[in-house]
C-alpha cells in the first residue's frame, strides 16, 4: 500500500444552511486515480474548491505529504503541486492556446519584475525552455497546429483537452479534474480518458469528478460515492457500483 499524498480529515462546510461538506474525509494515494461521483449538490466541486483554497473549510484539516495545508491561499497551494480544471472551463480565451499553457508553468523567473531587467538572460532562457515543453505537450495532445489560435477558437472538447494540458504543464503532482469529459464527443472522450489513464505512470495522482459512470469505471482505481456532503460508499469501482446504498440513491 503506497502512502497517502493528499489527505482530507473531517471537513465541514455549509452554504446558507445547506451542508455542502459534512465530516468528509478521504485520502489520495501516490499514483492513483480516485473517482468521485454522486448526485448534483453532493459537494464534489465544493471539495475541490476547499482543496485548492478558494473556499475555506469551517472545520477539518487538509494535508499534503504530511504537512498541514489547511487555509493556505490558492496560489500557494497551486505552487505546492495541486493543479485543477474547472467544470465550467477556465481558460484565458483572449490569449493563444500556447500562452495558456505557458501561463500554467510555475515559478517562472520571467514573472519576477527584477529578473526582467537584471537577469534577463535567465528569464529568457527559461521562457525558451518552457515554450519547447509547451509545444511538446500540445503535440502529445494533438492540438499543436492550434498553438497560435485564440483559445476560444477551439472546439469545446479541445478546450477541455487544453485545460488538461495546462495541468500537465504545471508540473503538479496532484491533479483535480472536474468533469473532464462532460458534454464532449465520444472520440474526444476516449482521447482524454486515455491521457488520464496514463497519468499515474508519469507520477501523477488524480481525483476525478465525473457524472459519466462508464468513464469513472474505466479509469478509476478507487471510487467514492458522495451524497449530501458525506461519503456514502468507498471501494473499487465494482464494489461501489454494487453497493445497495449507491443503487438506492440513484433510483431515488
Amino acid at each position: 500500500m503506497s502512502q497517502a499524498l493528499l489527505e482530507a480529515n473531517g471537513l465541514f462546510r455549509s452554504f446558507d444552511g445547506v451542508q455542502a461538506l459534512s465530516n468528509f474525509s478521504c485520502s489520495l494515494r501516490q499514483n492513483e486515480i480516485l473517482g468521485l461521483f454522486g448526485p448534483n449538490g453532493a459537494g464534489k466541486t465544493t471539495l475541490f474548491n476547499v482543496v485548492t483554497g478558494f473556499i475555506s473549510p469551517e472545520r477539518g484539516r487538509l494535508s499534503l505529504k504530511n504537512s498541514d495545508i489547511t487555509g493556505l491561499p490558492s496560489y500557494r497551494l497551486a505552487n505546492l503541486g495541486i493543479a485543477r480544471t474547472f467544470q465550467d472551463l477556465r481558460l484565458i480565451r483572449q490569449l493563444s492556446v500556447l500562452e495558456n499553457v505557458l501561463l500554467s508553468f510555475r515559478n517562472q523567473p520571467g514573472e519576477r519584475l527584477g529578473n526582467l531587467f537584471f537577469r534577463s538572460k535567465k528569464s529568457h532562457d527559461h521562457e525558451a525552455l518552457n515554450r519547447q515543453t509547451a509545444i511538446e505537450l500540445l503535440e502529445d495532445a494533438g492540438i499543436v497546429e492550434k498553438a497560435d489560435d485564440r483559445a476560444d477558437n477551439l472546439s469545446y472538447g479541445q478546450q477541455k483537452l487544453l485545460s488538461l494540458v495546462c495541468c500537465l504543464a504545471s508540473g503538479a503532482q496532484v491533479l483535480l479534474l472536474d468533469e473532464p469529459v462532460a458534454g464532449i464527443a465520444p472520440e474526444m472522450i476516449d482521447k482524454i480518458l486515455g491521457i488520464i489513464r496514463n497519468l499515474p505512470s508519469k507520477g501523477k495522482s488524480v481525483i476525478l469528478i465525473e457524472h459519466n459512470l462508464d468513464a469513472v469505471m474505466r479509469v478509476c482505481d478507487r471510487v467514492i460515492f458522495m451524497d449530501a456532503g458525506a461519503k456514502v460508499s468507498e471501494g473499487t469501482p465494482e464494489e461501489v457500483r454494487n453497493d445497495p446504498r449507491v443503487i438506492e440513491a440513484y433510483i431515488d
Binding site: Y75, A83, F86, I92, L95, L102, L103, L113
Partner: protein, 295 residues
Amino acid sequence: MDYLLHILILIGIYVILSVSLNLIAGYAGLLSIAHAAFYGVGAYVAALMALNLHSTFLVNIICAVIVSGLLGALVGIPSLRIRDDYFVIATFAFQVITFSILNNWVSFTGGPMGLPGIPQPTIFGLQVSSHLGFLIFIALFCALTLWVTRRIVRSPFGRVLKAIREDEVFAQTAGKNVAAYKIIVFVVGAGMAAVAGVMYAYYISFIDPTSFTVMESIFIISIVIIGGTGSLWGPVAGAVVLVLLPELLRFLGLPSSVAANLRQIIYGGLLVAFMMWRPRGFLGEYAFHRKEARE
C-alpha cells in the same frame, strides 16, 4: 518654432502618462482615475525639493518616483478586495483627496497660488533651458518609459497581467500571486506618472493644483481608451491625436472661449463614440466590460 516644440513636449509628457496608465488599466485591467494624482505628486515632490532643499534634478526625480510609487501601492491595496466600478470609485476618492491636499495645505504646497520659480534642471553638468533642450530631455525619458513598458508587457510578467485582467481565478489556479502583481503594477505605473510630473514641473517652472484635477485623470483615460487599451503603441497614438486636436481648433480661428468648450465637447464625444463603436480604440486588444457584453 517654439510653439511646435512646445506641442511636442506636451505630447511627450502625455505619452509617459498614458503608457503608464495603460500598464495599470489596459494590461492589468484596473481602471484607475487616480493617475493625475500620481502625476501631481511627482511634480510637487520635485518642485518642493528643488525650491526648498536645492537638491539636484537626479535626486529629485528619484525621490518623486519613490514617493509616488509608495502611494501607488496604497491605491493598489483596495483593488485586492473590491472590483470594477467600486474600485474606480476608490481611485476617484484618492484623486480628490490628493487634489484637496495640494489645494488646501497652503503653508506647504502654496495652495491655489502654486509653486513658482522652479529652477531649470541640470543633468550631468548640462543645464536644460531651451525648448529644444527640453524636448530632447523629455524624449529620452519617453523612450525609457516605452522601453521599460515593452520589457514588461512582452515578458511572462506581462502575460500574467493579462491573465489577471481576463480571469483572476485562472491566474490563482496557475499559482500566480494576484495581489502582489496588482500592487507591483500600481507602484510601477505611479512611478512612471511621477516622471511625467517632474518633467512638467521643470518645463513649465510653475505648478498649481489645477493641472492635477480629476479632469486631467479623465483626459489621460481618454487617451488610453481612444488610442487603444492593452497595446504598447495605442496610447502613444492616442496622446498624439488628443494633444494635437485642440491645437488644430486654434487654426479654425474660433474665439478662445468657444474653442475651450468645444475641446471638452470633442473629447466627450470621441470617448462616447469609441466606447460605442470601437471600444478597443485605434490599436487596442482589450475592451473594458467586453466580458459582460458577451455573457
